[in-house]
Structures are given as structure tokens and as C-alpha cells.
Symmetry: C2
Subunit: 281 residues, 2 copies
């Protein structure tokens, strides 16, 4: 597998890189970022996957996430994929929509209509990019974890629930926890997967738990001033599902915080310490 280096910058003692490659899954060029902390020669490091939300690329968290200082301290590699296929002429990108199409791949495998060719973000993130990162960076593939924000929180929770053996820790900032039940999710899942709601359950954290998926424990932070809280995020649905399934969920309601990177960057360090404790256990 090959990739090109777009940029490399020394930061907090390590290296923040941005890379590009031709993806077999999305059939487009894809860009992603990887921070490699300072480490000794030959070391194999734990890797944290960060999945971004609607309207984002790899760049938002890379610039605003405030993760490098703590990753340097804890010895974590931090990978930020893009959120959809990219480029001119990718079918399935409606004009004037931020919640479906480019920047809104929803970390699913599209099966329906013209989107099925390129919108394969599930395989892209959990398979193809995982292989590429394992090949190109000093990663210990036995120590991986995943977190994300909003749509990316949905992606992180579903990836963790479906690949329990792969990810040792999972957490989310303001995640969409039950896409089958909220407007953003209904629009995206019907657009990518079609009208058979049974197929949606494989990309819905609450439904996966209802169907028997389990995880060691989960951490979720959300802000009570988040404008999307009541209609799109609905953390109480995850809380209820976890209670019924006996999955320990640490759910923090953060007073006065909204949906932005000002919120995410505030709690990034807490989440990465949660991950490191499980990755190094």
C-alpha cells in the first residue's frame, strides 16, 4: 500500500503528518492525519482513532483538537481520517446539504443507488486505513482504541461494538447514539442503506446493544448547551440501553458547553487518559 506525504510538522516533540492515498474502498484520493509522539527507535505504540463529525475533514481536529500535548506525554499515536469520499464528480452529493454526501459519510457501507460505489467509509476506516496505518507507522495493532465527535461519535461507538476485540477503549464527544431514531440519522441511513430499517441496526449503537453487542465500558461527554442535544444526540437512549445490557457507561453532562471544538478540546485530555489507561492495562 502506498501513500504520499502532504506535510510534516514537528509538534510537542513528535511529528504531525498529513498523508494522501488512492483508496480502494472509496475509489477516490483520501487525506488523513497521523500524529506520532516522541518514542524510542523500534518501539511499537498504541494508536487512537478519532472520527470527525459532519462538515469536517481530518483538518478540524488536527488544528483545533488540542490532543498533541497529551499524546506526546502518554505515547499515543493519533489518527484522524476524513469523513467521506472526496473529489469532483463523486455521485450522491446533493447541493445545499451538509448532513448527507461529502463530509457526511456516516461511517457506513452504502448499498443503495449511485452512492454505493464510493460511500464505503465503514470499510475504509475499519479495514483499509487500519491496514495502511499498521504498515506505515510504528503501531502496535493489539493496542488500538477509538473515539469521535457527533457523527464520528456514532462511528466510534458502532466500530467498538462491532469490533470488540480490536478496540480496547471507546469514547465519544456529543455522539449520535441512535441514528435510526433521529433526523440526521434517518436521512443518512435511508440515503445510504435504503428503506429496510433492519439493515440500519448494524449502524446504530443503541440497536447494536439491543441486538446483543457488548463492550467493556464506555465514556461519553456532552454539553448541556449543545443545540443538537435533544433532537439529534439523545444520550439518554444510550444510557438506557447500557443500563439494560449492563455495559458500564460513564456519561458526563458538561454544564454550559456546546457542540464545537471549544468543547471537544476542553475534554480531549480526559478522554485520551481514559484510553491510555485501557491501552496500557
Amino acid at each position: 500500500m502506498t501513500m504520499q506525504t502532504v506535510s510534516l510538522n514537528k509538534s510537542h516533540g513528535g511529528t504531525q503528518g498529513v498523508y494522501k492515498h488512492a483508496s480502494r474502498e472509496t475509489k477516490t484520493d483520501m487525506t488523513f492525519s497521523v500524529y506520532v509522539p516522541p518514542h524510542s527507535d523500534g518501539a511499537k505504540l498504541p494508536v487512537v482513532w478519532y472520527l470527525s463529525g459532519l462538515t469536517c475533514t481530518h483538518a478540524n481536529v488536527t488544528e483545533k483538537g488540542e490532543f498533541r500535548s497529551v499524546c506526546a506525554q502518554l505515547g499515543l499515536i493519533f489518527v484522524a481520517p476524513d469523513t467521506s469520499p472526496r473529489g469532483e464528480g463523486v455521485p450522491g452529493d446533493p447541493a445545499n446539504a451538509y448532513d448527507v454526501g461529502l463530509c457526511a459519510g456516516f461511517y457506513v457501507e452504502a448499498t443503495k443507488g449511485p452512492v454505493a460505489r464510493n460511500y464505503r467509509m465503514w470499510s475504509y476506516v475499519t479495514e483499509e486505513l487500519a491496514e495502511l496505518v499498521a504498515e506505515q507507522f510504528p503501531v502496535d495493532p493489539k493496542r488500538q482504541s477509538i473515539l469521535g465527535h457527533s457523527m464520528g461519535g456514532h462511528g466510534a461507538l458502532t466500530a467498538a461494538l462491532r469490533h470488540r476485540g480490536r478496540y480496547r477503549a471507546a469514547s465519544a464527544f456529543a455522539p449520535i447514539v441512535a441514528p435510526s431514531q433521529v433526523p440526521w440519522g434517518i436521512k443518512a441511513l435511508s440515503g445510504y442503506l435504503g428503506d429496510n430499517k433492519e439493515t440500519w441496526r448494524g449502524h446504530d449503537a443503541v440497536a447494536l446493544i439491543e441486538n446483543g453487542a457488548r463492550f467493556s465500558d464506555l465514556l461519553v461527554d456532552y454539553g448541556d448547551a449543545d443545540p443538537f442535544l435533544a433532537e439529534q444526540l439523545r444520550p439518554e437512549l444510550l444510557q438506557a440501553a447500557c443500563e439494560r445490557a449492563n455495559i458500564p457507561l460513564t456519561l458526563h453532562r458538561q454544564e454550559g458547553y456546546d457542540h464545537s471544538y471549544y468543547f471537544i478540546s476542553t475534554f480531549m485530555s480526559d478522554h485520551l487518559r481514559w484510553h491510555a489507561a485501557r491501552l496500557n492495562a
Copy 2:
């Protein structure tokens, strides 16, 4: 004095605000950002001024500077002004130049030709915005300090040297230290101040020190992989001037770092701790 609130976001326990006002100095609308850390009612807090470099607005450091966590911890207000007058039809903005005109006010008082009307960033930052901030935020005006990057490092050093009583600490990331002697500075100073080089000395840190200006001590960090180091920054000129004038200069050459916010954000915490030690002394 009045201002409008553009945005407010809770972050690291405090509030990151962006504000707009009609400036009497630049005769345009101006935008700036202020982070106010968590504090008790009625407290008056020390304030750190951050001056940005070429091509920047208030937004670059606000998004990428990684200053909020440490400002929250140390109880510092952090103010980020813009770098030039703004808006359509400001005279003196040549096409295809990033180093003079919009985004490149150089923190001087323009005296020559059409730029003289609006390019008054010296008075804007050190007088007008200082008054507005003191009026609108819980600031202790006796505890102010200043830092900056590149062109803004030049601005911070000259402001500190000319207002020794006002700023209790001063530092810079990769500053232009002798604009009279380097291409960026020669272009800007001749454009804003005209050809009489004697007038340039009031906006040149090395020349100010040669002319007798003094400061308690200074901190400068630069990266040895900074592409502008040898031609535009020339920290050795500041080092020599400080040695001759007995100004204690802590000069850190940081191996492998470049001119970007990946560099700045790495050392932001060190600089703010240096400022806090002097602001709280």
C-alpha cells in the same frame, strides 16, 4: 466605547469570545478575541496580549494556539487583536502581496501616502484596544504582558521596549527583531513610514535597544527548521543587542521546529508560565 459580541463559547471552564467594534484608529470595523478564564465574581485578572503574524487574523491563534488550558489554570485573560485594518476599499492593499497591506499592518503608525488614514495598528493595539478591553473585561490594567509571533513578535518586542511601565513581561515566537535590516521589514517600513530610515528606528527592537530602550528580561523561542530564520528573523541580532545593553535574554533554539502554529502551540504553555510568574510577582 461599544462593541458587539460575535460569538461566545465555553472552553476549559472559561469563555472564549469574539468581538467586533468600529475603530477610531483604523476607521474600519475590527474583530478581536478574548479568552476569560474561570474566576470569582469581582476579581480583576492579569491580561496577556498576543500579536499575530503575517497572513493571520485573530482566528489563527484562537483556534490553533492551545493557550486556553494553561490560561484557565493560571488565571490569565488572553487577547488576540487582528493584524491590520479590514474591509473593502481600505487603500494601500496591493494585489498579490502577503507582506504589506491587509494582514500585514506591522504594528506601526503609517505616516506616508494613502496608507496613513487606516494603518494605525500601533495606536490601535497599544491605546484604543487596551482602553476597550480594560472597560469591557475584568482586567487588572497594572498586570499586562505581551507576546507575539513573527511580525507579531516584532510588535510585542517594540511595544514592550517603548512601554516598559505598561507590560510586566514580554516574549516572542520566531520574531522579526530588526525589521530595518530584513526584506519583510524594509518593504513594510518604507511602505508605511517612508524613506527616512531614522523614523524606522522607533519600530525596530534592535534599534530601540541601541537607542537606549530597556526591559527587565525577554524570552524568545525559534525553530531551527524555520524557513524564514536566516533571512527575515535573525535572532542573533537581538542577542547581540541585548548583550551590549545588559538585557537578560532567554533565547531558545528549538531543534526541528518550523514557523507554524505546530511550533507555537508546543511552547505556548512555557511562555504563558513565564508571563504568569512576572504578572503575579
